[in-house]
């Protein structure tokens, strides 16, 4: 899987999670760019992403991400 495909699939997870068809993620997207992306939603997103991509993150990895692109890079290294 390439990064663009991972972004597309992650976007679908976000659309479903936030129930918002208008969400368009980019590599630079951060929590501040998405309304309602709070700490609890963040947990739900991580769980959904781990489940979807069949990967497991560490808490250290999660804390290191600055944006969606860095999260995707992490997925692609798994």
């Amino acid at each position: 899987m390439d990064k663009e495909q991972a972004l597309k699939e992650t976007n679908e997870i976000f659309v479903d999670m936030f129930d918002d068809e208008d969400i368009v993620l980019s590599y630079e997207t951060t929590a501040e760019d998405v309304e309602e992306w709070d700490s609890l939603t963040h947990i739900q997103l991580v769980v959904a992403i781990e489940k979807h991509f069949k990967v497991r993150f560490t808490s250290k990895e999660i804390q290191s991400w600055q944006n969606v692109g860095e999260m995707l890079d992490c997925i692609l290294t798994k």
Binding site: V46, S59, I62
Partner: protein, 130 residues
């Protein structure tokens, strides 16, 4: 590690008169399906059907009191009702850790309520370790 996939828990719950009347007193759901024997039987049930959310109260007890730590909070919860629960039912509850997400300290349980081996309700609960 407090939780790992496959860990299982069991508990028995009784749908007592006290619980039933307390639920009605607190939440005031007196729908005849729950309170009128003739109405319930007219709809094809054996007796008054207990409020489905009584089971959610049992789930609350399980999460709050039966786990190896009190440092928990419920994130999400879903339940599927398969068969009616009646007053006086003794329910066998079981739950199994389906997934543990170390990254966000979240635990997903699959659970079910049975009466005499028959599944009455089942679902999933996700909790966070706080």
């Amino acid at each position: 590690m407090l939780f790992k996939a496959g860990d299982s828990y069991e508990h028995q719950f009784l749908v007592s008169e006290e619980l039933y009347s307390g639920f009605i007193h607190l939440f005031e759901d007196r729908n005849p399906l729950h309170t009128n024997e003739d109405f319930a039987q007219g709809k094809g049930f054996e007796s008054r059907v207990m409020h489905g959310n009584i089971l959610n109260g049992f789930l609350s007890y399980f999460i709050g009191e039966c786990l190896p730590t009190k440092d928990v909070i419920i994130h999400t919860q879903e339940i599927q009702y398969k068969k009616p629960v009646y007053l006086g039912d003794q329910l066998d509850f079981s739950a199994t850790v389906q997934d543990y997400y170390e990254s966000v300290q979240a635990v997903v349980f699959k659970y079910q309520f049975k009466r005499e081996g028959v599944v009455l309700a089942k679902g999933k609960i996700q909790i966070g370790l706080i």
